[in-house]
């Protein structure tokens, strides 16, 4: 039987050839490979792999509460407790806000906290089986740090902030704002809620944020709130004409959201 529409068939063949010709043959770029390697390192630092069902929306990282129900608390707490042990043993953790001069400006406010405070959101069980500081790798210990809140009100980050370039640029600018303005920084403008009262403890510190030092990686760290929980916004050092903005879980440093933001 003759082809009812030979021209359409041939046209489809033409398109297939054009597509094959346009196949991407190059390797993954060096900066992308380095980024992936760094994330893998962070994932490995968290602990053993947890079996997650294919049916569970593992990428549905918006739902932190559901994530906590699924995760075995011991894995996260072990990692966090180990960080606390290292923090106490080493004294001052981390260092200046930026490891490698991101955005080219000197670090202003501190970006780390030492140990867990009394009002820490995640309690650490007293477990004698926890690894000691001596067992922790020196390189990992050096990268353990956490940001300090520079605003009396929560700096709220939402999923939609990662969905558009403009909002991502605004997130990136948070690093500049928090470094230079300190306590005068208002909560994230796009998420401002009228009537919010400053959340300060008796010492005048922002009580809305308590986050353990963790393997949050290079770049500037900003204390933020995500889904009503403390989180870390990491503005990575620029590579070429773009930079990576990552939203990390407190303690484990697990990547909750990430996006690449053009610098221009």
């Amino acid at each position: 039987m003759p082809d009812p529409d030979p021209q359409a068939h041939d046209r489809e063949d033409d398109v297939r050839r054009l597509l094959a010709e346009a196949r991407h043959d190059g390797p993954v770029p060096v900066n992308v490979a380095a980024r992936l390697d760094r994330v893998l390192e962070q994932l490995a630092a968290v602990g053993p792999v947890e079996v997650v069902s294919e049916q569970e929306p593992a990428e549905d990282l918006d739902d932190l509460d559901a994530h906590r129900r699924r995760r075995r608390a011991r894995n996260l707490l072990l990692a966090a407790a180990a960080v606390v042990v290292v923090g106490v043993g080493l004294g001052q953790l981390g260092g200046p806000a930026t490891d490698s001069g991101s955005d080219g400006s000197a670090a202003g406010g501190s970006s780390y906290v030492t140990t867990s405070d009394a009002d820490a959101s995640e309690a650490v069980p007293q477990d004698e089986s926890l690894p000691s500081a001596e067992n922790y790798s020196g390189s990992l210990a050096k990268r353990l740090r956490a940001p300090e809140p520079t605003s009396p009100r929560p700096v709220v980050v939402r999923d939609r902030d990662f969905a558009s370039t403009d909002r991502l640029r605004a997130l990136r600018e948070l690093s500049t704002m928090t470094r230079s303005l300190g306590s005068t920084v208002e909560e994230y403008p796009a998420d401002a809620r009228a009537g919010d009262r400053p959340m300060l403890d008796s010492a005048g510190r922002a009580s809305w944020y308590a986050c353990k030092s963790g393997p949050y990686g290079e770049g500037h760290l900003v204390a933020v709130q995500y889904d009503a929980h403390p989180a870390v916004l990491a503005i990575r050092p620029a590579t070429g004409d773009s930079t990576v903005v990552e939203l990390l879980r407190c303690g484990s440093g697990a990547v909750l959201r990430s996006a690449t933001v053009p610098l221009s």
Partner: protein
Amino acid sequence: MSEDLRTDADLLAAHVAGDTSAFGVLFARHRDRLWAVAVRTMGNPEDAADGLQDGMIAAYRRAGSFRGDAAVTTWLHRVVVNACLDRLRAAKVRRTEALPDDLEEYAGRGSMVTSVTESGSDAGDPADLSVRAERRRAVLAALALLPAEQRAALVLVDMEGYSVAEVAQMLDCPEGTVKSRCSRGRTRLAALLGALAPRVDEGHTPSRNPRAAAAVRPGEGTTAPP
């Protein structure tokens, strides 16, 4: 550094068992092809990097749920493609790039289809290379105008050379759906690229779309590529 000779399945199992380096070895082995899929699906390197990272994280965490009913590479592609599609849906942004301003200019250069199918053509001719580069750019721009699901299907079938059956596993949909998406996508591309791909001269028999090189996708039983 000695080469890791474990199979993909062995590496994934080792990762689930607690080997902290196994997943990195596995992912690095297939990273270039996964990157290619991400780049063509997302339409630009920046979004591709984000999508690939999302997929890598998801695969890392979901490794324990891999049932072995498909090749590990198929499973990896599935996770990465789904991560990219999730990002596209969340952003609800259709990447658009301007098609060449003057499509007539390209039509005047002769049949680009015949230049693709002719063997031994002037591959080193600068003018020919320039035409190919422009044609490639136009194809990618047109591809970016397709719905994400059609784009992903065409990337996997026509660009990467996977079978319809494999792509159905990657996209977690029936084979008929893959065929339908490909057919609709090609039809739309044909309309968009009409000026770039005029019908070949009568009597010329076009060849079938070549499959991707076998070395790109090592079989399940093979070890690391040389």
